[in-house]
């Protein structure tokens, strides 16, 4: 009996270690590769014989800082705009009855059934019409109009007791003050989840910026890294941009992993609460 329990514990420990290794090894290999001189890229030893920061120097001297800036700017603007419009609308839908409410909310819900990629073409033609191609706005606006975030936030606002608002109204508070001073502080976890969702979505977006951003100085990191990677076939290993690619991938990956480590519970809770677009 004891031996049996012990052996099942050992098996479990082995499986956990195996899982951890399978998940962690590719990350480890990425970091190690970014620290190797490019001539040693094919070397398989787990601890490289030579370490260098040359790849990072090369990456920072090239277009990567600009791409990083575009990515951060687009992600922050998308988050700010998306959370603002969605939380106002969520409050409107959750706390008032008004003519057209059911229909308007129904339209928002129905749009959730339409896959994201299918809207990229019409969004492209709209942006072309307005001359907004190749600008941040062409990526920010489509990503900020996030129906899922509105839906998620409406749930949070709907749970607040009506008495809170009645009391504030009797004290003479206006509607916008009800929103800002009564409701918003109480739905902070929801706003956090919404912000995280919008930010990650923008940070990792590929198809939309690929279509909208045409000149390389406007690229985001995913587009830029894919562009560098597409140059690989035309170069020999020693002169290839692998160094910049590995360093750039680390640079674009580390901030979010650090956020995950720092805010563990909030980060995981926020993403699993609302995230559907993986």
């Amino acid at each position: 009996m004891i031996a049996e329990r012990l052996s099942s514990r050992v098996v479990r420990a082995v499986v956990v270690v195996l899982l951890v290794v399978v998940i962690a090894f590719p990350l480890y290999w990425l970091v190690i590769s970014s620290l190797k001189p490019s001539t040693l890229l094919g070397e398989v030893s787990l601890i490289p014989s030579q370490l260098t920061l040359d790849n990072y120097r090369a990456a920072l001297a090239g277009p990567i800082p600009g791409w990083m800036l575009n990515t951060i700017g687009i992600a922050l603007c998308t988050t700010a705009l998306g959370v603002t419009v969605a939380s106002l609308a969520a409050f409107g839908f959750a706390r008032y009855r008004f003519r057209g409410r059911t229909i308007l909310f129904g339209i928002v819900l129905a749009s959730l059934a339409i896959p994201e990629y299918a809207l990229v073409l019409p969004q492209f033609t709209i942006m072309r019409q307005f001359g907004l191609l190749n600008t941040w706005a062409a990526v920010i606006l489509p990503l900020a109009a996030n129906a899922l975030v509105l839906f998620l936030l409406r749930q949070y606002f709907a749970q607040l007791p009506e008495e809170l608002f009645d009391a504030a109204r009797l004290d003479g508070a206006g509607e916008l003050r009800l929103f800002w001073t009564v409701a918003v502080p109480l739905v902070r976890p929801g706003l956090g989840a919404a912000a995280l969702l919008l930010f990650l979505n923008a940070w990792n977006a590929y198809l939309l910026p690929l279509v909208m951003l045409t000149s390389s100085d406007q690229f985001t990191m995913p587009i830029g890294l894919a562009f560098l990677h597409s140059q690989l076939n035309f170069s020999i290993v020693e002169e290839s941009p692998w160094g910049a690619i590995t360093a750039g991938t680390v640079i674009s990956t580390v901030p979010l992993i650090v956020c995950l480590l720092v805010m563990q519970r909030h980060f995981i809770g926020g993403l699993t609460a609302g995230a559907v677009k993986s």
Binding site: V20, A24, A113, P115, P122, L210, T253
Partner: protein, 323 residues
Amino acid sequence: MTALQSRLDVEPGATGAGPNRPAPAAPGRRRRALRRHPRSAPYLFIAPFFVVFLPFGAGSVLLALGMAFVTWPLGQAPVFVGGDNFATVLTDPLFGKAMGNTVYMLAGFLLALMPLALFVAVLLKQLRKRSANIVQVLVFAPITMSLIAVALVFDLILNERVGFVSGVLAQFGLDPIPFLSDAGLAPWSIILLRIWRVLGYYAVILFAGLQSIPDEYYEAAALDGANAWQRFRHITFPLLKPVTLFVLVAASIAAWELFAEVDVLTDGGPARSTLTAVMYIFQASFGQFDLGKGAAASAVLAVAIIVSTLLANRLLRSDDRDR
């Protein structure tokens, strides 16, 4: 109500606690208080969202439909062509190939992902709380990476020229395995990296579902002499079903839209074995500048996604009724 329904199931507040508004208990005062807001207030609250949503959400859906029925050469006005674009797309063997590849990779992805994610979730549940937390954070990390970053990481491992695996094989004097340049292997390499990215994410969602099942059920079943498999079959499986359905639907929608990884790693090759439906749409629209053809293919794919989501719901839900 399909993907949506299952989205609702795991969202906070969807657990039954949140009716739209509390029942009006003390009518007199409440009604007066409610009336005090100006009529325009709700419209002003929702207006900013709709300013962005109408063109890029709802409007784009309509425009997408319209575009499928026109031919729209660059710099010219669109011309109505009826169902021509659909005829072109549906008779194009390349589109059939792209849809077939997409379904093949989707099926392989789901068949591998679902048991693995469930397995990891059960494993997390069996760990002590502190180690479960540590493992949870680690397996969650890949989902924060972009698809492109993940694709590049796996290129470092699977690439024939400089990849880790070829390097290891070479040390034993073996030839490299053509993970990305063999038509049979390439789709599975794509599936592999996709699973690596999302396994922890879905496992954590299933783990949250597992934790909402009361321990008493298992204790009672154990008292009645149910073995581990019977407990899984009769308690875990039925009670976890809504969350499982959510994971299944979310994962399959994402897999239908497969594009970024193949765009970077294989460009649809070798021998078009990894050409996906979204890649076909992208090439038709921005390679051949045939927006109408791209829009028609988009519509066909969207219908396929919606129908398969409805079917998944119907099959798994009706299964409930039989019991």
